[in-house]
């Protein structure tokens, strides 16, 4: 049971501590000791973060070592940047970098604006009920697993039994082996991503649109702006901050979109277009056991992501005064 004094102080102290930490060390320690049970709650999660998030960061040093499982991380000898040099000089370096960049760049150019367009359509539909249907239906594929999505691609695009090729043949064309053709890999990968995720990604824009001040629409209407102009000059500017945030977050993961799906879609016939850094790390690192080498490649990947994130965030802050931090 707490003393009456403690309780009285808790009331005052709680609000005050929220704003400023006391300069005096003794007071701070007392504040902390009083809330020891909150730290107790944090014990397990923080332990988890240290072990499973920061532990791998510690293990990342094998990127600069010649790691052998027998010796362990610490005892393996340092090799400097050898692993990186080996990667940069390898014949597949250009291919991996090119595929990783183009898949993600095209994803961004094509797939990023579509949820925004969908949200605008949803917002402009006069019938609310129809709009709800549109939302609910476009969400469905989001909840399916990558395995199921790639399975659907397999049967849907099949040269023998799929309806797409049936249509091509009915129109007098030759069936196309979509999934075994390097030139079709990227369009199919990106197209099916759009199919799966556009509804889900549009939610956030729909929410943002509902927050746009209705008076702005009225004013624009008074000024004789057409519906299309109202969308362009009122709706779109109203959600720019959200768009910028989503763009920054996307670019922060620029190098690792859709790794599992690429892995599932990959085969010997389309490897020319589907070999990306993350799948290479998996096949070479985990399947072949070249840990140090692929840890270095993974680090290279993460560093590029981080640099892109920082650059874009900085750029966004300058241009639109919206940023992550």
């Amino acid at each position: 049971m707490k003393s009456a004094l403690d309780q009285a102080e808790a009331v005052q102290g709680a609000a005050a501590a929220a704003v400023r930490l006391t300069p005096r060390r003794g007071r701070l320690l007392r504040e902390m000791a009083k809330r020891y049970d909150l730290y107790l709650m944090l014990l397990l999660p923080i332990g988890w973060y240290l072990l499973f998030q920061y532990g791998p960061l510690y293990g990342l040093q094998i990127a600069f070592k010649n790691f052998s499982p027998a010796k362990g991380i610490l005892a393996s000898e340092w090799v400097g940047l050898d692993n990186f040099h080996r990667f940069f000089d390898s014949y597949y370096f250009n291919r991996l970098l090119w595929n990783t960049f183009t898949i993600n760049l095209f994803s961004m150019l094509v797939a990023f604006p579509i949820p925004i367009a969908l949200a605008l359509i949803c917002n402009e539909i006069p019938s609310r009920k129809f709009g709800k249907w549109l939302q609910n239906i476009t969400f469905i594929p989001h909840f399916m697993s990558v395995v199921v999505i790639v399975g659907i691609l397999n049967v849907f695009l099949s040269p023998e039994t799929g309806p797409i090729n049936a249509l091509i043949e009915a129109l007098g064309g030759q069936p196309i082996r979509f999934l075994e053709d390097a030139s079709w890999f990227k369009p199919i990968f990106i197209g099916s991503n759009i199919w799966q995720n556009m509804g889900w990604q549009s939610i956030i824009y729909i929410a943002a649109l509902s927050g746009v001040n209705p008076q702005l629409y009225e004013a624009a209407k008074m000024d004789g702006a057409s519906r299309l102009r109202r969308v362009w000059h009122v709706s779109l500017p109203g959600i720019v901050p959200v768009i910028v945030i989503m763009l920054i977050l996307d670019i922060g993961h620029f190098m690792d979109i859709g790794f599992e799906k690429i892995l599932l879609m990959q085969n010997n016939l389309n490897i020319e277009a589907s070999d990306v850094i993350s799948t290479f790390v998996y096949t070479t690192g985990i399947q072949k056991g070249e840990y140090s080498y692929t840890a270095a490649i993974g680090l290279f990947n993460s560093v590029i992501n981080l640099i892109l994130l920082l650059l874009v965030n900085r750029f966004a802050r300058k241009v639109s005064e919206t940023s992550l931090w």
Partner: protein, 297 residues
Amino acid sequence: MSKQAAASKPSDERWFDAIVYILAALVMAAVLYPLIFVISASFSDPAKVLGGEVWLLPKNVSMAAYQNILHNRDIWNGYLNTIIYAAIGTAINMIMTILAAYPLSRPDLPGRKLIMVVITLTMFFSGGLIPTYLLVKNLGMVNTLWALIVPGAIATYNLIVMRTYFQTSIPWELQEAAHMDGCSNWRMLWNIILPLSKPILAVMVLFYAVGHWNSFFNALIYIRDESKYPLQIVLREILMISQSDAVDANVGLESKVLLAESIKYAVIIVSSLPMLILYPFVQRHFVKGVMIGSIKG
């Protein structure tokens, strides 16, 4: 909108409406068509499916594929494993996320800013696949269900969403009042915070459970025994590594190929069934989750 109102609209407004409706209908058709195709094919006579005759509605309705799945032990074993992994995994996810989110939502906790920075940093930079794999291996978790559960015990994004909810939806005055009455922090969490946070808890359970249900990569790298395979790995073998072993051995070779092909459609349906059944009931919770997340995201 009434008919008169629609008629009184200027013609460019009506054109605009028409175009919006057409675009919306096209999007809906494009999303639904592949799903309808798979459902129809799964209920069709395998010979018709293989002949490429099914394109919208089932031809010669047949349950052969489903009957075959009924006898496939791998699928049911995978189903059972996935249910176990998802149940234990989600429980651990929830405990860990709540234990982290509640203290960090307290404005009076010294050091919470620092802890938040430590946590948020992991969203932008991580050790990557190989060091994580080696860690899990060194901890002796390979080929156990812990490898599927423990490394992903907390999703930082979910943690931040839950913390935001605790901060914004539960009045701080309420907690202060409870403190004055001598309520401990554990009791506060259990008796006040959690009962008041049911919506966000439901959303988080759904997010985590769907994640477990759909995940396949961790099992791919960590699980060696076939008897421990989750559903998604079994699915991958049937769908992608097309093999006729999945089919009952009592039929001839030709019908074996037929069934191996048609079983694919039914397997897609069966494995997505729990989600599809739950979907109408839970989808607005999902939407709510994204909305809450977007407040401070």
